[in-house]
Subunit: 131 residues, 3 copies
């Protein structure tokens, strides 16, 4: 079990961690199997979407901010209920395939750490499930 550390610098942002995942695959010499990427936090998540144009993740964040307002009919006293809701909508994990030592992703796909209550130091566990 490995971990990727992520340092977010804004309250809300998508951080592309694809290159860190690729680097870990090379370092660990993983060849064929799957990787589970699991976010250890309840106000963040993991998602896969387009990494070529940064406008895409900007549009996702703006949509989420509009749909899940920061202030609302919330009882949780920490004032970050919107971040918890977004975490459950986006999901806290993703699983990706590795084949011949390479991450199997579509042309436009990147893996993002989704920060909804930063800036914070975050941790993503990486679990290799080999053939």
């Amino acid at each position: 079990m490995q971990a990727i550390n992520v340092q977010s610098t804004k309250q809300e942002e998508f951080i592309d961690i694809t290159s860190q995942v690729r680097e870990m695959i090379r370092e660990q010499k993983w060849q064929k199997g799957t990787l589970l990427l699991f976010c250890m936090h309840t106000t963040a998540g993991i998602t896969i979407n387009e990494s070529a144009d940064p406008s895409v993740v900007r549009d996702i964040l703006v949509f989420l901010a509009r749909t899940v307002p920061r202030q609302g009919d919330y009882k949780h006293l920490e004032g970050n209920s919107d971040a918890h809701i977004k975490s459950s909508l986006i999901g806290c994990s993703e699983q990706v395939i590795v084949d011949q030592g390479e991450l199997v992703l579509g042309t436009w796909q990147g893996i993002f750490f989704a920060e909804f209550d930063g800036p914070r130091s975050r941790k993503v566990m990486v679990k290799w499930i080999g053939d």
Copy 2:
């Protein structure tokens, strides 16, 4: 393949099943691998979020009820289209890591069965994928 049985008592509620998952890990003597928790129903789901303050899951449920109204432009005749929609938004499964016989979760994380059309008797399949 094991199963966790869940009895919901309300139309909508999040039921914390973390302790049942931990108990199963102990009983089965699972040491190192991952667990797939798969909900066998189309009007419920599985999510991971904060278990310390029950206001968090309350806030998620209230948000979902507001965003996905019980009555709407629906064609499905059973009157529970909102529950089906919530199920696809939240997702019907989660995968968690087990290391040294222990569930690997963040400090605030709990595993919840998300009931959207109860009260009902529900079943979550548990599939061990060991190293």
Copy 3:
């Protein structure tokens, strides 16, 4: 690693791929394990929901179209930001259990390819993780 090819014929539709997954399980003689179904695209997804009444997936699509409008405060220039947003809400993968050579699903569950920006030729990777 196998693949399922999907040809969508509308801009938005849910395509039931359950029978194709079952056929692959038979052909590959997979007996006991899990299958990861991973969509290689950023404007589509995979979800599990009711397959008996087609109104259910119609209701999910109508809800998503209303909640994530085609036109909005978007910066991505390709005009399909709504499809990217829906992809991250629904998720790009699902994992299912196989036992005794059979897909383990609830009575009403089917596996759907969720097209949000068709018509297009699409690919779902299928990764077997056997016991």
